[in-house]
């Protein structure tokens, strides 16, 4: 009955040699570094080169928006001379000229400000509305959920670019950054709200929320201190991707002619204007296209990387 090494298959009775240390049940084992969602995510992100590249691109574009004179001395609109129309690169004008004789590089740099301002504002508006609507609908449920979800459905059923087109067409006399941002954000919130609502519903089921209520915390208090912090992770991902979408929206609307007006610098405007001379001077169209695409790509990549970094399943696999 004791350890029988000739009978490892235990037809009789096999007992493995006992370990020298005594058995400790459920010992506490923690790494030196504290681990929570955010610190783990950061550790994952910072060792990915794609993250740093995207961050760099975003930083450059941001810098262009805040401080355009750092990148170009040429004033975008003043230096336009028709005699330079569709000219190639020359001294001080590295990327050549547009159809109207304006400096391509300069317009690209100054256009960053428009895109980022509108993009950021629209995203903030959309995210804030979406967060509030989604969180209340998901958390309180019942008639409030039905009402807010119905409202969300209605807004959701109008593709936000089409809605923005209508709004900007109506506000044709009053086009500024704020109306454009509201036109985009005021409709794009619906998809954010849906995601927030789903996330809130998921968190609401968790026992720590019930425990909070059993302690006597108010529902609203529980929403703010327990549910929302847990919903921040997906919200962050959505915000980054929404920003990319908002920049595209601004460019598309500018291209269609219902953006901020043809005298305002916008990548979308530039592309629209360059359309007529596509055959002869394609670069005037391609350059702003590149910077637009690269900016959008950088934001989308950031959003995806953040999402992967925050994914709890991915954390378990690390």
């Amino acid at each position: 009955m004791s350890s029988d090494l000739n009978d490892p298959t235990g037809v009789n009775h096999y007992v493995a040699p006992a370990a020298t240390t005594t058995l400790v049940v459920d010992a506490v084992r923690v790494d030196e570094k504290p681990s929570n969602l955010w610190s783990d995510a950061w550790r994952d992100l910072r060792r990915r080169p794609v993250f740093w590249v995207s961050l760099l691109v975003v930083a450059i574009v941001l810098l262009m928006a805040i401080w355009p004179t750092l990148f170009t001395q040429v004033a975008p609109n003043n230096g336009c001379e028709l005699s330079n129309s569709n000219g190639g690169p020359s001294d001080g004008h590295p990327l050549g000229f547009t159809f109207l004789g304006c400096d391509v590089w300069s317009r690209m740099v100054w256009g960053a400000r428009t895109s980022l301002t509108v993009g950021l504002l629209a995203t903030i508006i959309g995210t804030v509305i979406g967060l509030i609507m989604g969180a209340f609908a998901g958390f309180y449920g019942g008639w409030l959920d039905s009402l807010l979800s119905r409202i969300g459905d209605i807004f959701f059923s109008i593709p936000y670019i089409l809605a923005a087109i209508v709004v900007m067409s109506v506000f044709s006399t009053n086009r500024n950054v704020f109306t454009l941002a509201f036109a985009i954000g005021g409709f794009a919130w619906a998809s954010t709200a849906r995601v927030v609502r789903a996330e809130v519903l998921r968190v609401r089921q968790a026992d720590f929320v019930t425990a909070s209520r059993a302690l006597g915390k108010s529902r609203f208090g529980t929403l703010i201190s327990h549910v929302i912090p847990n919903a921040i992770a997906p919200l962050l991902v959505i915000t980054t991707i929404s920003l990319a979408a908002a920049i595209v929206a601004e460019a598309t609307l500018a291209f269609l002619g219902v953006g901020l007006g043809s005298d305002v610098m916008s990548w979308g405007n530039d592309i629209a204007q360059a359309q007529q001379s596509l055959r002869v001077a394609p670069m005037a169209l391609i350059y702003p296209s590149i910077i637009l695409t690269v900016t959008v790509l950088a934001f989308i990549l950031l959003g995806e990387l953040i999402r992967d970094a925050l994914d709890p399943r991915a954390r378990a696999r690390r």
Partner: protein, 560 residues
């Protein structure tokens, strides 16, 4: 006793399995050796992480993710299964070796009918050919599995079946091709205990009739002893002990097995006593004179369930439930799923309002309290929930989690709260350094301790434990139950213990209340009910406890 020279059906030698990850290769099975002989049932028993499921998966070469066999052999007759590729394994699977998985809901494809999924097993293993023959054989498989109206059931979808029916279908599929070996990986863990017994009996009958060998994977020692001739005990990827079931249970040799046997709750065990005092409870008369801390009378709860699109029917989740818990005692509310026990807990915690009936705490009816009074009342009643992975907010560190009750009820200042957190961590035997850590760094048992610490922060009188140990491994469960017993005697706590596991009731409670479908079927002291159950349902529940008749380890020595 000399070994008869039988040829093993399956022979595993020096098996090693490893998983690949970003940080390298991690070996999870180390030198596993065992044989399975024709017609016998053996069980692999272990806690989570022991490698028992990995072993089962390795045999049919369906290791999840990056798992792979790094050394050793798995001989099925003359065939080494580790040398076969996936296409070759397909011939073995289903035909020679059948597999019954654990969770019946997630293991059936929701978009195809049950009949479809049975038929494809029949077809793939060459048991029948031609549409009519396959259909007939599939119906036969379902009938054999114990499903009535098999013809009708063929066209139904998994979500239209109950859990027990789905598992029967899976067992039927596993046995459809009359394999020589059936691997059953925790086949009934996801089911109610009475359903478990019926299904396992049925499975045993089928395998006996066909002469199929069975490899049963389970975490339940009693179940293994009852159903298997031999038991293999695994820990951390190794076999620590193996041998005939009775021998293992009556005379375990390895320290781990001894701990396992001692910790496994069963009818024969005794109530876990706190170290300090001896509190034998023999009959209701003994407890009658202590004042009831919690008294529930005729508690009823109706819900409206939506039927179809427009109608809604009332559904009585709790029906005239009454019980009392004297101060410092534990009452177990036991029942299967749908019995209403969790709903009672919610009402006691004032998370839901009863439709009728009363709840009294120290003689005061809680229904009539104002909001302020209810808020104050909450300090005296606190919950600990089942799911250790959901009961702690992942965004807060442990210290803040435990201190939250103090913040909500505005007890003390920052310094005194920190001191209290220190005190509580001590009481639940967790190191102080955990206060700045987060929940994801802790194991299930450790998280439950934190949940208990949080529940004790406001010095409550009543703790409602809603399946608080059900999700824990046996040894950890034992630890937590001992902790709860110690805390109860130290702090004079009254427990309302909700569980589906009668065996745990035996070791953890003084009084028991058996519920079925919302009603109290029987109640009394634990000793009385276990010795002399009067109701049929109670008897069925007691019979269903796996390993009920087997004296385990120390109990046999104690002369029970």
């Amino acid at each position: 006793m000399s070994e008869t020279a039988r040829e093993p059906l399956l022979s595993v030698r020096d098996l090693r399995v490893a998983f690949e990850s970003q940080s390298g290769s991690r070996e999870v099975l180390h030198d596993v050796n065992f044989d399975i002989f024709p017609g016998e049932t053996i069980a692999i028993v272990g806690e989570s992480g022991s490698g028992k499921s990995t072993t089962a998966s390795a045999i049919i070469q369906l290791l999840p993710g990056t798992g792979h066999v790094t050394a050793g052999s798995i001989m099925l007759g003359d065939d080494d299964l580790t040398l076969r590729n996936q296409a070759q394994m397909a011939n073995i699977r289903g035909r020679e070796i059948g597999y019954v998985p654990q969770d019946p809901m997630s293991n059936l494809n929701p978009v195809w009918s049950i009949g479809f999924q049975v038929k494809e097993a029949v077809r793939a293993n060459g048991i029948a050919s031609g549409k009519k023959e396959i259909e007939a054989r599939a119906i036969e498989v379902l009938k054999q599995a114990g499903l009535a109206d098999a013809e009708k059931r063929m066209h139904q979808y998994p979500h239209q079946f109950s859990g027990g029916m789905r598992q029967r279908a899976l067992i039927g599929i596993g046995l459809a091709a009359d394999p020589k070996l059936l691997i059953a990986d925790e086949p009934t863990s996801a089911l109610d205990v009475t359903v478990q017994r019926v299904i396992l009996d049925h499975m045993a009958k089928l395998t006996r009739e066909k002469g199929t060998s069975v490899l049963l994977i389970t975490h339940d020692l009693g179940l293994a002893a009852e159903r298997a001739e031999r038991i293999i005990v695994m820990k951390d990827g190794e076999i620590v002990e193996s041998g005939p079931s009775r021998l293992i249970l009556e005379n375990p040799q390895h320290p781990y097995t001894q701990r396992l046997v001692a910790a496994a709750p069963s009818i024969a065990s005794q109530r876990i006593q706190a170290v300090v005092e001896d509190r034998g409870v023999q009959s209701l008369a003994d407890v009658a004179d202590a004042a009831p801390t919690l008294r529930v009378r005729e508690l009823t709860k109706d819900y409206k369930i939506r039927q179809g699109s427009f109608r809604s029917e009332p559904f009585r989740a709790v029906d005239a439930v009454s019980f009392e818990i004297p101060r410092g005692k534990t009452l177990a509310l036991v029942g299967e799923s749908g019995s209403g026990k969790s709903t009672v807990a919610k009402m006691v915690l004032k998370l839901e309002d009863p439709t009728s009936g009363s709840i009294e705490v120290d003689g005061v009816d809680v229904a009539g309290l104002s909001r302020k009074e209810t808020f104050a009342l909450r300090r005296r009643m606190q919950p600990v929930f089942q799911d250790p992975y959901g009961s702690l907010d992942p965004m807060r560190n442990i210290g803040n989690t435990i201190a939250e009750p103090l913040e909500i009820h505005k007890v003390g200042d920052a310094a005194s709260r920190r001191a209290r957190v220190t005190e509580l961590l001590d009481q639940v035997s967790l190191p102080q350094s955990l206060a700045s850590r987060y929940a994801n760094e802790l194991s299930g048992g450790q998280r439950q301790r934190v949940a208990i610490a949080r529940a004790l922060a406001l010095k409550p009188d009543i703790v409602v434990l809603d399946e608080a140990v059900s999700a824990l491994d046996v040894l950890v469960q034992d630890q937590i139950l001992k902790l709860l017993a110690d805390l109860q005697s130290e702090l004079g706590l009254t427990y309302l213990f909700i569980t589906h596991d009668l065996a745990v009731v035996r070791v953890a409670a003084d009084l028991v209340c058996v519920m079925e479908r919302g009603k109290v079927v029987e109640q009394g002291t634990v000793d009385e009910i276990f010795a002399n159950p009067t109701e049929q349902y109670t008897r069925r529940l007691l019979d269903a406890i796996p390993g009920a008749s087997i004296p385990l380890g120390g109990a046999a020595a104690a002369g029970l």
